[in-house]
Symmetry: D2
Subunit: 443 residues, 4 copies
């Protein structure tokens, strides 16, 4: 199963289009309010929302890594050419609509959530939402079909649901709660995926998704490759002291009360000695571990792992969250930074701290989840710091508000919601055989 | 059959995504060329294209009427935030990719055309294309499935193909040549649609599509409603002298040698006297005419019309183009303006004339089609001039280059490739019944 | 006397600073209105002006030819970083304040005019002026000393006033009315300068300055050089039929009833035969003419010219304006275009025509002067059309409003109020001898 | 003597114009390099500088507090409308040219420094200077006269020089070295002014100006007002423990070896007891102190202060800099932050630290002065922290390079080189009596 769990292009396009519809409505509304008097607005059944152009929360999305669209200026030109304002594009998977898809209970819940997406603030600082723009119904209409999980089958014929969003660094990065519920009803064991590494994927599964879904997991499978351990260990061989990143993540999982199982994802370049060493270190850290050759042998290669997981499922689980919902935002972030990332503390940029204080003081945000936005390439915010970095503090530069998903999203370090295209992008190698229609260069 | 012939959301999204991929590649390439030396570029297998940021031809597309995106500034920020440049968004149906879909013979032809889309020009004025960006293969891959027409059925069960592009004002506005060819192979009669009024839809069918497809049509059905004739006649009743717009269009069709048939599209508010009057005027102008009640009665209501069409098909056709391909661009536009729109002549803005001269002098453009961009709300460029405007000249403000479709597109008047959202947009009334999932407010 | 009649740097800087103060006030006011509620504004003694950011009339000025500042975007950043809007810079001599300096009667008149400078319009289309911004007093304070003409002496000791503005292409281009009045009181003959060629400099002297100053001139001296006549004649020698540009301008002067005197400004490369030919042609056209060698010999070289001027002054003058003030704007421009420039007519861009109609209908503009903005390098708007161009129409793309000077300024062709710096600018050659402090490279 | 030591409008305008000339040259050069090939450039005697538009150091200046010009976009439009880039305006007193004026030894030194002003960097990171733009000579020409100090007289007839730049928060904030040298030659005692508070004005006098001028000062007069001490003490009365800000600054001065003298600047609302208390505290801290009534009584009121200063001048001075030139940039800033401002340390933003490392590694910057940019309203970077703030770190967000002045300028906190206009600016109250020409509302 590919990382991009939204396999059907139609679905991500639905998210993109429904999301951008809100932005079209926002800019058009700002233009019309600028061009019309109160009386002229009233004639059209509109009241003046008086949106502050320098306090807009929402941006546009495209499903590309397009750094050129990160910071843009729109509405340039005459009075009919839209409202002049700074704006931004993010990648579609990072849309709040993807988060809503992942956490919504059903269509009614999704419809309700679509009312409360915060597009910006008015001059007095009051939230302006998608329902103020009267665009929440149309957005739901566009997303109506996406709420149904797509039932796929693996190449070996096992059933699996593909439903909602990858990229736990900038997004929720979890398969949907709806798909999990169906899975739990239909089968003895239900396996769900959390994107990227355990410091972000598992932390959001643990404190956001499990809490919202009311589900109690038994086991967490941590996938380890010898190659990754080498990279995080800083050198070309795996040595006992160099698996500290894996050990750190095993300990994170143990804090939740869930049983950790390390899946040693075998590559053909690995040696049995390396596998044995990793297994021993994982077990010493308190985890089960199994070598899995699914890449080479499919399901048959994963039988040992399956045994380890089923064995772990038999254990009692004392599942507990990292923090109670009552904990104020900045304390939550401090706890995540210290206990999950291994930071010494958190440094808030002035703007971010100002926002955080406002959210802590406002009962509207009391039951909001905390969804971290952080690099997946390091336990820290700095992608080049490998292993288990020591003696650093987590910088928070901003906090985004997802009013429909009910998320507050602290932004750590320089990470952007719109990734960049490298100077050697994959599209250079993709082509089509015009005789057969076959696409080449995707892998 | 709805006006929006691209019924499947997936298709227009494929066009949008494939199109925007070129823009992502363009801006990323410009950024990388700005940040890297020739040697660093060479290491990545890239040569410096040296694209002129003030001479970029292509813009982004979204499938919305978003006036706020007409004129934008992108790449604001630091060196990793893309290349700073003026840019623009158009509506997705107006994409050159839609035009290519409509005129491509097959996948190989589409693949070839995707090489030559002009994204901009280098510092010396030389064209930079999608193949220079090495993105033409990936664009084709994204569009691979769209080349197959979608076979739909009407509510009465007749087969119809839905394939390619509406909006003959800003786009090609024709059903695809591929779909026509299949239709012609399968059935006795093949009916294809041209968007909007005969001055733009039929003119493009006649001089662009029929020429490119090598097809010889027999009959052109002109759809007339009493309501439209009233509007173009300037008042609340249809009187003899007021059907001049219809008569003008009948005469346009006659110039092509194709036989005109007027379909009087009956509405429940029309009177038999009105129908009779319109029929008489049409026949006096040299057309067959039939009242069609398909809106009320379905296929049964259109039997008279079908008889008239079949009858017309029996006549000899002396099909001839309005202008030969050898005619230079400005003469072609002059001919279209005078003979189809009824203008006294053409006024070229300095920029547009400079471009036109360049194209006329360059053999590269010798076999390019001329695809007018003009309002569909008037025979002229000015939407409010109804009937058959007299004593006016057609202003051409720019000429776009579609190197893959091989179109030169003169832009008449103030028309924009990105329409605007009104102050009372339809999305305000769209909603979903969360119990049934039914969408309301679409019509 | 140099072309730059504002010899004292201090003066042009005062104009620049006083002008830009209005722009500072404008943007700051827009920011504060965006950030404060009505009540908060009232506390500061401010009412909401509600300026339309897409309908701002005024731009900034700098005393440079800086094409990079023609079209700018300002106020980018956070809420304290000003109001985001499109803006523009012009060259300081083109400032409305320069025009006011040239036409003001005295300090009280200047103070009054500074109240009415139009900075922009509110949402309902009402003018917003410098007095609405409460910045008119401070602007006057900054300009207080500039109202006094600077009395200079020529290198031969004759007194001359240097007061107000060059560049009749983009500005008023006349020495001030105040300086003229002093000159007329003190001396037997008063000579005043009009910038650039007679089609713009003289036309503004005739219909704008003479009307506003209530002065009746006797003679107009037209300066001709053999070099310029060659250029306008299209070749390297002066031949009879090639002085048509000079003849055209003599005829323009004759329409005003003022007596024309041609000053043949002798250069050392000219031949006596050339001088004689020009003299004969000028006289045949109905002008006096004299060869003047002031460049070589100073005042002594201009004695013949002085005699010719004094002789002309003895004639009766039947001074009459080209058009009465009652003539509507578009008719005035048509008259100037045809009778002064030799055009076949005027083409108004839609925006410009819309504005012109508004001004014609509004009694507020009834006594406004018409100040053309047009290239000085041709009788037409197109700098490369030399001699007396035939068969062309004058395109007007915009009309500027100078509410303090009471000017409506039609903009002809592509001319910009901010010239550009060439690729070989004079500053490359300017330097200072650090021992003597002497500046080199100015000429 | 007013705080604005550049009393003559002409002078600051010269700085503004000479400064902006460099920006005109920069943008025009970038445009021409974009539009011309290497061969075309060579024909004009130009080599390609290849300036990186996203790494431009220099901005424009105006002599206004114009927040709307802080962050701008210029060069919008066609190919002739300049080079599109992000740019910025600062206030003219903060210009590097003002700094050069303050530290230049003579015209030759100024000419030399004008060669090295860094306008930006090329694609490879190499500095591009005013001499690369060939604009350094013209800039010197414009500034030629400003190098001569203006000799003014006080209202009591004492001579004083007014020469160079106020605002020690964002600029050098010192009277010029040239004026000091003249003063030292002419009189027994020479008093020079440092702008704003001792933490910035004195620190720059001490470590920048005295070092560059090779001058050894004897005494530093610290001006204290009861009102300011109250404000920094946090309440309405002056009490012993509340003069800690003054005591802190006395201690700063003592670190330099210069003798501190406190001038208690008497106001009519002060009580003798308050004066006595401040005097006692100052003396306990090791300073001389005298009450001065110069505001009320002119020079006579300052006799006690003069005695104290003359008395202090007799003492031996062991003048030493806070840091040697050999100390690397970041250590210097750390030392200033801790020993002068009382910070716990320094936090470098990633961008600033990256720059600092580069400067430390490059011998080009070995003899550069360190000129801090910091709020004058607090010892810290945060204007609202009064008294002697404890437990804080100094954030450095950027480091500017002044290649002509040879300054590296660390930017502390949110301070901007372009201040803002408040919502109740002074210009609202300024006016001119049109009968007398008198200006009112300036004070």
């Amino acid at each position: 199963m590919t990382e991009f769990s939204l396999g059907l292009t139609g679905d991500i396009n639905d998210i993109m289009n429904a999301h951008n519809l809100a932005m079209v409505a926002l800019n058009a509304r700002m233009q019309h309010e600028a061009n019309y008097t109160d009386a002229e607005l009233a004639k059209r059944g509109l009241r003046r929302l008086d949106i502050d152009p320098k306090n807009v929360e929402m941006g546009w999305v495209l499903d590309f890594a397009a750094q050129g669209l990160r910071n843009i200026m729109i509405g340039i030109g005459g009075k009919k050419d839209g409202f002049l304002m700074q704006s931004k594009f993010g990648i579609a998977v990072g849309s709040e609509l993807m988060a809503i898809l992942a956490v919504a209970k059903d269509l009614a819940d999704m419809r309700e959530r679509f009312k409360h997406i915060v597009v910006g603030y008015d001059r007095t600082g009051k939230r302006v939402t998608t329902s103020d723009l009267e665009v929440d119904g149309a957005m739901t209409a566009w997303m109506r079909n996406t709420i149904n999980p797509t039932l796929c089958s693996t190449v070996e014929g096992q059933p699996c649901f593909v439903h909602a969003g990858p990229f736990a660094n900038i997004a929720i990065g979890q398969s949907s709660i709806i798909a999990d519920r169906i899975g739990l009803k239909c089968f003895d064991y239900h396996v769900t995926e959390s994107g990227f590494a355990a410091d972000i994927g598992f932390e959001k599964f643990w404190n956001v998704k499990a809490r919202l879904g009311g589900l109690k997991p038994n086991v967490s499978v941590l996938v380890a490759t010898v190659r990754a351990l080498k990279m995080h260990g800083g050198g070309p061989t795996v040595v006992p002291g160099r698996c500290e990143n894996m050990v750190h993540l095993i300990n994170v999982i143990k804090k939740s009360g869930i049983k950790p199982v390390v899946c040693i994802n075998a590559f053909y370049t690995d040696t049995p000695a390396e596998h044995a060493l990793v297994k021993r270190i994982a077990e010493q850290a308190g985890a089960r571990a199994a070598v899995s050759e699914h890449w080479l042998k499919g399901g048959d290669g994963a039988l040992d792992l399956a045994d380890a997981v089923m064995d772990a499922c038999k254990e009692e689980v004392d599942f507990k969250f990292l923090y109670p919902l009552e904990m104020p935002l900045r304390q939550r972030v401090e706890k995540i930074a210290k206990e999950v990332y291994g930071a010494d503390g958190v440094d808030w940029a002035p703007l971010a701290e100002e926002k955080a204080k406002k959210f802590e003081a406002d009962p509207l945000y009391a039951d909001y989840s905390t969804m971290m936005v952080k690099s997946h390439l390091s336990l820290s915010h700095e992608p080049t710091w490998k292993g288990v970095p020591k003696g650093w503090r987590l910088p928070i530069r901003d906090v985004l508000v997802y009013g429909g998903a009910k998320f507050l999203c602290p932004m750590a370090g320089a990470i952007s919601l719109m990734p960049g295209t490298s100077s050697d992008p994959a599209y250079r190698r993709i082509d089509v055989d015009v005789k057969t229609g076959k696409v080449s260069g995707l892998f």
